[in-house]
């Protein structure tokens, strides 16, 4: 199966199982270290993840809040590099589709084609680049298209309708709907009008709509599903757990199961 097909199948099987939405936990590759990070990725898959979003540590992550920024800094200090993270991805991708998340400069420095080849080689299914908006994306979109990889675009509450229509038409894999104006991080409650944001995104695209940023509790995940999301992305809460306590894999595993539970069929 190609990357695009694997992503579509993951959303489809969540739907076929009658679950409320697919679960897509995020992890920072190489945090708290490479070995535990691998365990965390595998535990995500065992705990009910439908897809895994795999972050590549970056020095200047503009879209990330303090927790994910700090996790990336820790990994960088320990010498974690892109090939290490792609190796994690390769192992996780044996179980669930992997979407790599990194910043534009990490791609440009390698060259778009080489970067896309490396993703393909590691068995990744897609790519999210939070600082590569529509205007800067065409070349990367082509490189991904040629390899049947998904370049997943982000849309924000601030994105106007006309722009959303263009993004939606180009979206591959799924659309990443940012649930709030802000960086990644835990929030209490959900942004009002999330259903409207999701509906707006769904109306402009054929691919599933996933919601992320600020989802830190199982009730929030359930609320996102209730708002119509096809997928729910949980990041900071899990990264925080990965950095705490003596048994990070166990605590991350327990959390993922709670999130999966909140998205399971009621009753």
């Amino acid at each position: 199966m190609t990357g695009l097909e694997r992503i579509a199948a993951a959303f489809e099987s969540a739907r076929a199982d009658g679950r409320r939405a697919a679960l897509m936990p995020y992890m920072m590759g190489g945090f708290p270290d490479l070995e535990i990070s691998l365990e965390i990725g595998l535990e995500y898959a065992r705990g009910g993840a439908d897809l895994v979003e795999l972050g590549v540590p970056f020095s200047d992550p503009l879209a990330d809040g303090p927790v994910i920024h700090a996790a990336g800094t820790t990994a960088l200090r320990a010498g974690v590099r892109l090939p290490d993270v792609l190796e994690l991805g390769r192992a996780i991708a044996e179980h669930v589709p992997v979407i790599v998340m990194c910043y534009a400069n990490q791609i440009l420095v390698r060259g778009l084609e080489r970067f896309a080849d490396a993703l393909l080689d590691a068995g990744a299914s897609g790519l999210i680049v939070p600082d590569l908006p529509l205007e800067e994306a065409p070349a990367m979109l082509r490189a991904c298209e040629e390899r049947a990889l998904a370049l997943v675009p982000l849309v924000a509450p601030t994105t106007p309708d006309a722009r959303l229509a263009v993004i939606g038409a180009q979206a591959r894999g799924f659309i990443y709907t940012v649930s709030l104006t802000g960086t990644t991080g835990e929030r209490s409650g959900m942004q009002d009008g999330l259903a409207g944001v999701v509906a707006r995104a769904a109306a402009c695209t054929d691919v599933p709509v996933a919601v992320g940023f600020g989802i830190s509790t199982p009730p929030q995940a359930a609320a996102a599903a209730a708002a119509g999301a096809d997928g729910v992305i949980v990041g900071t809460r899990l990264v925080r757990a990965a950095g705490e306590g003596d048994a990070p894999v166990a605590s991350v595993g327990a959390l993922v199961r709670e999130f999966a539970g909140s998205l399971a069929v009621a009753g």
Binding site: G65, T73, Y103, L108, E135, T159
Partner: protein, 388 residues
């Protein structure tokens, strides 16, 4: 309708989170309408004249010229209100924010000059102001931290990384991503996503427009060289631009060599060369490793302590119209002390880089040096290093 550049050759662009894209479009539209609006121009020019004190003088530095062996004129941006060229941009953008109905201003600062300038503009125009500043810079530019507080701004300490300008810009952008609907980000140099680099250049070109007319009047000729320090590149682009079509005038941008380019501890991405990349929303000359991780810059001068640079400078370099050189911490300190003794002018450590290069690199029939700011803020740091 008029337009504004997004790219300079291959450089520039808008590498930012989607959340900000509508705000950049709004900013661009607001600027294009404001710059064609005579009422806006009149208000801005009135403030530049009566509040900032423009035009700033062009002054022949007589004793320094003798020491250098060739004539050197200073464009006296140090005599502006708040003591640097930064106020030209800050006032313009604060007026623009007001026009857009945004009452909260975000800024970053390295040396503190842009933070003070923005805090000043916000006090004047009754806007709320948050200034992000690395804690290392808060230490070495303490008087400016106190000034900002007095002016009513809140200074937000930034602890990440080397606690200097790069992290302050990142923190300011994150604030903007979160508060974009109510806030305008007054970026302090000709860096960042489009339309900022061109917008800041348009607000800073008053330096060069004045200087070109003044030197023709006072010296009866164009300079052989126009020389300015380059951090993000705003005072240099402002003084360069009106001379770009004067092909006989050399344009020289002076970056921070820090401990020496060869040590890697510098702030000279244009001089060092290397692969371009994306930092803070623009594709330009940057300092990075082979994985595309951004490196920490180093300079004694907080305003030049930045691993990126404005995209238009990268293009002026590649196209051969301007050239870029670098001056070490030590050379800048010497020029700082020499200028104070010979001219009775204490220059900013940033500007001291431009002075140092002009003095050490004759002959020249006539140098125009942008004295981008005054050195009061640097006294403690400079005296410490000069061993006094």
């Amino acid at each position: 309708m008029s337009t504004i550049e997004h790219r300079f050759g291959p450089y520039g662009g808008q590498y930012v989170p989607e959340t900000l894209m509508p705000a950049l479009a709004e900013l661009e539209a607001a600027w294009l309408s404001a710059r064609d609006d005579p009422a806006f121009g009149a208000e801005l020019n009135g403030l530049l004249r009566d509040f900032v004190g423009r035009p700033s003088p062009l002054y022949q530095a007589q004793r320094l010229s003798e020491a250098a062996g060739h004539p050197i004129y200073f464009k006296r941006e140090d005599l502006n209100h708040t003591g640097a060229h930064k106020i030209n941009n800050a006032i313009g953008q604060a007026l623009l924010a007001k026009r857009m109905g945004k009452r909260r201003i975000i800024a970053e600062t390295g040396a503190g000059q842009h933070g003070v300038a923005t805090a000043t503009a916000c006090a004047l125009l009754d806007l709320e102001c948050a200034v992000y500043m690395g804690t290392e810079d808060m230490r070495r530019q303490k008087p400016n931290v106190e000034r900002m507080g007095l002016l009513g701004a809140s200074v937000e300490p930034v602890e990440a990384g080397a606690r200097t300008l790069k992290e302050a810009v990142s923190a300011a952008i994150r604030d903007w991503v979160t508060n974009v609907e109510t806030s305008h980000y007054v970026i302090g140099s000709c860096v960042g996503p489009a339309p900022y680099p061109a917008l800041v250049r348009e607000l800073q070109r008053v330096i060069g427009d004045e200087a070109r007319a003044q030197i023709l009047k006072q010296a009866g000729r164009l300079p052989e060289r126009v020389i300015a320090c380059v951090g993000g590149g705003s005072n240099s682009i402002g003084v360069f631009v009106p001379f770009v079509d004067d092909r006989e005038v050399q344009l020289v941008g002076v970056e921070a060599a820090g401990d020496g380019i060869e040590t890697g501890r510098h702030g000279a991405p244009l001089t060092a060369g290397g692969l371009p990349g994306v930092l803070h929303g623009a594709y330009s000359a940057i300092m990075q490793d082979e994985d595309g991780q951004i490196l920490e810059a180093h300079s004694i001068s907080a305003g030049l302590d930045y691993p990126g640079t404005g995209p238009e400078h990268a293009w002026l370099r590649d196209s051969g119209r301007a050239r870029y050189v670098a001056i070490t911490d030590r050379e800048a300190l010497d020029a700082f002390a020499t200028c104070a003794r010979l001219e009775g002018i204490i220059p900013a450590l940033e500007s001291s880089h431009a002075i140092a290069w002009a003095m050490a690199n004759g002959p020249s029939q006539l140098d125009l040096v942008c004295l981008s700011g005054r050195g009061d803020k640097d006294l403690a740091e400079a005296l410490d290093h000069l061993g006094r």
